[in-house]
Symmetry: none
Subunit: 218 residues, 4 copies
DNA sequence: AATGAATGAGCGTTCATTCAT
DNA sequence: CATGAATGAACGCTCATTCAT
């Protein structure tokens, strides 16, 4: 095989990950073999192990790319000013839909993304990928808190959840709903799952589904 | 090995699954080998394949047991009369906590339980386990609709979600939240995640987090 | 690949070793890969690892076969009565030639045979092959001592070496000579290495090359 | 890495070989990697391939050093005049012991030294190392013939072996014996291998072990 | 029906060697 | 020249699955 010109390791990591992603998409993650990745990426198998610890790290590298993509998108959404009530709702829903799109477009990685990772961040010889995933996970959580923060400032949202609770409530609920929605949608669309379900559900998370807001049975 | 006396296949399936579950718990699902399951269950390795299509089916058999357990518990909860407002909230929270306990006690299976399964239910030679999981999944969904139904009847819950939407909203959101909660709790408890978070979050799903209930930006 | 009928492990070991030996002969030991052995033996690679710990053990199994072959031959030679002086010499030379033939016919294994093996015989999970090699090595040494014993009894040989010394003297010297002879013979035959060298050398070991036997400078 | 000042290739070869020898001693030949040699020698890995054809040549370079060392020692021994009978025996045994010491001190290389090398000396692009080994091998053989020559001249040794036969007889037998002695000595010393074995064995090669010298059964 | 034996497939790894700079 | 980077080739090993009895 022709040697390639010297490039930064990050370039090689990206090349390899690109090949891996293609194969994951095409044949599934389990069924994709390291040899195939090497072949498609046009690297020797041994070279893969220079740039990644193992197949798992390749997978998580791809996961991380998708996390970054989502983060970029979400940051873009919240960067716009949100100083009006109407605008806040718009932003909130945009974020929800961005998450939904992520789940729809990256079904292979979405679970891992929201699971972030089970990682001992302080293990010194932990591959960088895992640290980065953790860091990006924190960034993503921050998005939810920023958004809710603004809702509180605008007098829209009750101040009853702390910031980290907010992140957990919204990330947990939204990802749970879109995950389930995506998994069932092919099936349900036949039966008839209204298109409007998701926005109603997202608003339900802040609006609630009570007839009156007065229930304090917590 | 001495022939064991003739027993119903279901007995063998249960024996094998019991051994598998022990090992899954002890060493994790991936790390548990079919050989070990066979050895612990005291069957020949090939015999496992008489009673299960493959290792996956063994796993899903166990998953199904846990689904049945949860279903029994949830059914027990909603069977009690729920004719008062206070009672309805109690029941609702009991259900939420039952789901949370399930996530806490069966972390290995919870994801698979809520993913139910990606299954073409009409495939004629699909192992029975998968059909049963599907059926039990439907039963579980029914619990949510029944509960919400009563909330509507009691005048507590808005009638804005159809039945299947309700199931998706609640199952999605609740499982999403408890999943995330469990995954982070060890980490957060150190930092300080309030004990009261979960009940507040569960009520938030129906109550919403709006200052006033009047937002109709859907 | 067609499954084969149940056979004793020793049969499989022999099958595999036969294939290995063919390949060793044809391409050299280092260049022979485990995959090739499996292919030629018509077994799956994994099966090889059922019957042998690794490539090394396959090699040593073959070595052991050759040791057994030599042992059988040598035992056959010394079993014949050796009660006369002339007969003793005959026997002695036959043994020497048998060793030489072994070196000539099994050049790939001869070194390992005489190195016997560097083995901690008391390691409990040492593959059987290594124990067997050790045992056969002891048997081979015994041959030398038996033969020299008879020479002493016949009044031919001085009693100046203990039995284990005898074994070492003869095995060391004879194998050293035939090894060197074989390595050089192709080269020397061109130049002219007399055919009669080996018998003269073998007798030299007992006869010595002194003009008179009277040197006692030890 | 900083460029080192221009030095003769032989200096680089020596540097590299020195590093290799250290590692061979410490971890064994097979277990020593080219990377390690390069690192210890403080050269780039690829640079090793500028000065040596491959890892094997590095090994044989070291072998050759040891051959030269032995040759120097043996030449020193035979250079001294050997004009008396007693002196001849002394010299003979000194040579034998020098060989034994070589085997004892350079166990990693001794086999290769006496195997000299399997080399087509006329291959034009054969690395120099192999030619040198061959040449030094011839020098070493000459030592044996010189010594025996003198024994014949002194009337001590029968003239029944040609010169090249003599070399083969003595080198073969002596190296065979010391090799076996070294390999077994740790084991035998426990049991009890007399210290005097080696000199008796060496003398046996010329003296023989016959009760009377009169056997002419060749 | 029950099973031991055999195996295909692939992972993780090592390492000598080569190539482009 | 000197070299880091890339790699082919193989080993050792694991394991779910299947087949012949």
């Amino acid at each position: 095989m022709a040697r390639r010109k010297k490039e930064a390791p990050s370039v090689h990591r990206a090349n390899i990950a690109r090949a891996a992603e293609m194969l994951f998409e095409r044949k599934g993650i389990e069924k994709t073999t390291v040899d195939e990745i090497a072949e498609v990426a046009n690297y020797g198998k041994a070279t893969l192990y220079v740039y990644f610890a193992n197949k798992d790290e390749i997978f998580f590298y791809v996961v991380h790319q998708h996390m970054l993509e989502l983060l970029t998108k979400l940051n873009g959404i919240i960067e716009a000013e949100t100083s009006t009530v109407a605008h806040w709702y718009e932003t909130y829903l945009e974020i929800c839909f961005a998450i939904h799109n992520c789940c729809k477009d990256s079904p292979l990685y979405f679970d891992a993304m929201i699971d972030e990772i089970d990682v001992a961040v302080d293990d010194p010889d932990l591959p960088m990928t895992y640290r980065e995933i953790y860091a990006t996970g924190e960034e993503l959580e921050k998005v939810a808190t920023i958004m809710m923060d603004r809702g509180v400032e605008l007098g829209l949202i009750k101040d009853s959840l702390s910031y980290s609770e907010t992140a957990m409530y919204f990330w947990g609920a939204i990802t749970g709903i879109v995950r389930m929605y995506e998994r069932k949608s092919s099936y349900y669309n036949q039966i008839g799952l209204a298109e409007s379900f998701l926005p109603r559900a997202f608003l339900g998370l802040v609006n609630g589904y009570l007839v009156e807001s007065g229930a304090e049975y917590a």
